[in-house]
Amino acid sequence: MCRMAAIKSKHPVSPALTLRMMLAMQKGHDNSGFAMVMQDLGGAFAEFKKFPLLSMACSSAGLERAEEILETMGFSPKFDYQPDVVNDPALDFKRMPHYVFRNYRYPEPLNVYHEHPTPEQKKLLLDTRLKLRKALSHENQGYVYSFWPDVLTLKEIGDPRDIGTYFQLWNEDHWLQARVISAQCRQNTNYKIVRYAAHPFFLEGYTLMGNGENTFYQKNKEFQQHLHSSYIGFESDTQCFLYTLHYVCEQLHWPLEYFKHVITPLTFEEMNDRADGETLRRIRQSLMHLEINGPNTVVFVLPDNRMGVVADAKKLRPYVIGRDDDMVVSASEVCGVNMVIPQRDTERDIYPGERETVVVNNALEVERWNQ
């Protein structure tokens, strides 16, 4: 089972917290990697929140190719952070030659900055990321994870502890800080793992990670591949959950609560007792290929930085949300939460139910909706 840790904090915090959570939850050996998406950034990137931030790991040729593409498209670098690394050969970790965390200016005429990207800017950023990904896909030239304002992604394969050491993530005063961090370490079930298969995944402001097996992966994938140009890759079955969230909220513009109705529909018996049963049955028919029907907990972050959790319809995967006044910390096991906020009132912990959607807003208020 993948280990998941998510933090939503009033103040920027270090990813060291999530690393500690990961180690607390680790059982047995683990060298398949560590991945995280940080949003609402502090630290070195706090001044550049409106400038699209490219997160990429690549070879020298890949870097050259990416810079050429970006320059040709009219993007210009605004801020570049080269992480100080501990280059110890003993670290159990498959490193890439370059890690790029770089803010760019939009090309003209889109070179204006708002709190959130405009539709034209969103399209440009998405198209650019897909273009970079495609260009760098040859000969292992690199991996392009995200290109979005105020979002930083790091994914690596190896021992999570050593990955943390290499990037000095254990240092809590690190240059990387964020108010929203989603992190995941996967269990070793596939030694051919590629970096793109590591969640959390990011798409147009939506971040998502999940644990468990998506038993409808094939159905999800076959259906999603025609829904949007960005629904590609499918290196992981968890990607499907992100695409469904994006489709429901961003393409269909349905309220968030319908995400749960799509992935874990109510039983027909329950629908029959509801006033909106007919609507739910229609949704079920139209989107039956987006149902998940496996053991999964899904954790997501929305473009406005609200964080949410939903479980599968049988509550086959655990997840717990703990909180104090300054942060909401959630994890796939309670020992993970205990690593960060051991003194909290555990009676206020939330174990999302099989029909629940739990959403943490930016004031750290927790909303719980029953499906």
Partner: protein, 576 residues
């Protein structure tokens, strides 16, 4: 029972000089010798030969009176024997007249192997034996008449479903479910599905609410009773099916649906609340539709659906056929026809192109029920199935409510044997092709796919249905198996299959009141209900190991094929 007196003939004088018997064989056994011509029909030419044991037979006559085909008859036969009599027993040639059971040799009254004689024989003295070296196809076209048959074809070299196994089991990576404890949602849609972005929904106070018309939709059980008409079936068999369907719905909450077949429905049923459990079929002969249309103003509820029958898997390219022998007075009444062979045309008259199928038939049938009832179409599986499906998927009016594909292993009440055995297309590859065509267009689920033709042939319908669902079917329709549960003895190996004759030995495919009386309606209905309930458990026992509580429609990753060619053709993993 006919009694026969044994006559023992003993010579009056026994001095050793008696004359030899007329046949001159020297042993005193007298048989009449009739000339035999090689052209004459003989049991050796027929597919089944009767094996009769005169030693154990008690001559009760049950077999002869039970055989509905007139394939056996009794006759007196002189039998030579040696008797010993007198104070000093001395063997004496003699003969006796016995009652013998003899197989009829003509090609009209040939034995179908139904085994009813065997079933009724109190001493196990008679049974049909399959004749491996028969010459039936060579002798049965006498009179320039093609061979006709009912039942099913039996020239299918392999059964592909048996090469497919459920090979993706949830272990450790995800938990198997508990078939007995978890909740399973086994329903499947019948009716046009809209792409989500075309659903007429609007947001009001944070909720989605309907804002326009949506095509009619029914959530039904994924195994349905396929189309068999009143006419092809005896009214009691049809009634047993209808009873079972009503019971499953009313008492067990299982929304099993049944297609009427082309032949109308009883008036009382048409006007009852139970109509909602039935899919009314319209085929090229439009038989029964006069009544249906007249009943429409008095219908208490809508039917489950309308099924436009274009073709049938057992005899693709051919219309329905109800031989005059089966057009009894009540069939004449329900169909509004005289007693005659009822031949539905191979095509719907006036339907000249695929475009018209949507424009004319779908639109008119939708309009007839004011767009409240799903209208689906049934065609025989064919190399053209995907072309038809693609056309329907593009239906701009959203009125195509389902695509029923019927494979070569389907059954029929009556057909030319050449059609049954040599025309048609296996179902699974066409199912897969259609589903993948939908996948290619991102339209899977918009037109529900239902498949039939050979599902349940081995008696394991749940497994067959499950595999079809994994390959992309929304559900399956099956027909022969329900008849077998009522007592039909026909099978894929050529037994009986005399549904066309009107002489069904178990009262299922006949309108002869004496034969129909052999069928017990309540028992037949109960057997069908019991089977459905067992099937429901078995479906869950297949879903639980793959970790699914809803139907795995299109989840071909759950299957493996134990044959490379099948794996490649169906696009599932090969396993050995």
């Amino acid at each position: 029972m006919e009694s026969v007196e044994l006559q023992v003939q003993v010579p009056a004088k026994n001095n050793g000089n008696e004359s030899k018997p007329a046949n001159g064989n020297g042993n005193g056994r007298a048989f009449a010798i009739k000339p035999t011509y090689v052209r004459d029909p003989h049991p050796m030419d027929l597919p089944w030969k009767i094996a009769w044991n005169p030693e154990t037979c008690i001559r009760c006559g049950s077999c002869v009176s039970t055989c509905t085909f007139g394939a056996i008859q009794s006759e007196l036969q002189k039998q030579g024997q040696t008797l010993s009599a007198g104070p000093v027993p001395k063997p004496v040639d003699a003969s006796q007249i016995i009652l013998a059971i003899k197989q009829v040799s003509d090609t009209k009254h040939y034995c179908r192997g139904c085994s009813m004689c065997e079933k009724v024989c109190p001493t196990n003295s008679i049974r049909p034996v399959e004749n491996e070296h028969h010459r039936f196809p060579l002798v049965a076209r006498h009179g320039a008449s093609p061979i006709k048959r009912g039942g099913r074809g039996h020239h299918i070299p392999i059964r592909v479903l048996d090469y497919l196994k459920v090979g993706r089991i949830s272990q450790m990576t995800d938990p198997s479910l508990d078939a007995a404890r978890h909740t399973f949602d086994l329903l499947t849609p019948l009716g046009r599905g809209l792409p989500a972005d075309e659903l007429p929904l609007k947001v009001e106070n944070g909720k989605l609410v309907p804002s326009g018309w949506t095509p009619p939709l029914r959530w039904i059980y994924p195994v349905m009773i396929g189309d068999m008409s009143v006419g092809a079936l005896s009214w009691r068999m049809w009634e047993a099916l209808a009873l079972a369907v009503a019971y499953l719905n009313e008492e067990h909450g299982m929304p099993v649906r049944m297609s009427s077949g082309e032949g109308g429905m009883p008036n009382r049923l048409l006007k009852s609340e139970y109509l909602k459990y039935f899919i009314i079929q319209i085929a090229s002969g439009h038989f029964g539709w006069n009544r249906i249309i007249k009943a429409m103003p008095e219908m208490a509820t809508d039917p489950a659906g309308i099924l436009i029958k274009i073709g049938q898997g057992a005899k693709p390219g051919d219309g329905g056929l109800l031989p005059a022998e089966k057009v009894a007075s009540h069939i004449q009444a329900i169909r509004g026809v005289p007693k005659a062979d009822l031949l539905s045309p191979p095509n719907h008259q006036g339907l000249y192109s695929i475009e018209e199928s949507v424009q004319k038939m779908f639109l008119s049938m939708n309009a007839a029920w004011k767009f409240r009832v799903p209208v689906a179409i049934k065609v025989a599986a064919s190399s053209t199935s995907v072309a038809v499906f693609n056309n329907l998927v593009r239906d701009p009016y959203h009125i195509v409510g389902g695509y029923f594909l019927d494979g070569i292993q389907g059954g029929t009440g009556a057909a030319h044997e050449v059609s049954m055995d040599h025309t048609g297309h296996p179902i699974l590859s066409k199912l897969r092709d259609c589903y993948l065509a939908a996948v290619d267009q991102g339209k899977q689920g918009q037109i529900p796919l239902f498949v039939g033709g050979g599902f349940g042939d081995t008696g394991d319908l749940a497994a067959d249905a499950f595999k079809a669902i994994c390959l992309g079917a929304n559900g399956v329709f099956s027909a022969k198996i329900w008849l077998q549960l009522a007592g039909c003895v026909g099978n894929e190996k050529g037994r009986c299959n005399a549904c066309n004759t009107g002489h069904c030995p178990v009262g299922i495919c006949t309108q002869d009141p004496r034969l129909v009386a052999r069928l017990d309606v309540d028992t037949a209905a109960q057997n069908i209900v019991d089977y459905f309930l067992a099937l429901d458990v078995e479906l869950k026992k297949l879903m639980a190991p793959i970790g699914n509580s809803t139907l795995p429609i299109g989840r071909s990753d759950a299957l493996v094929a134990m044959d490379k060619a099948i794996a490649e053709r169906l696009q599932v993993a090969y396993a050995c």
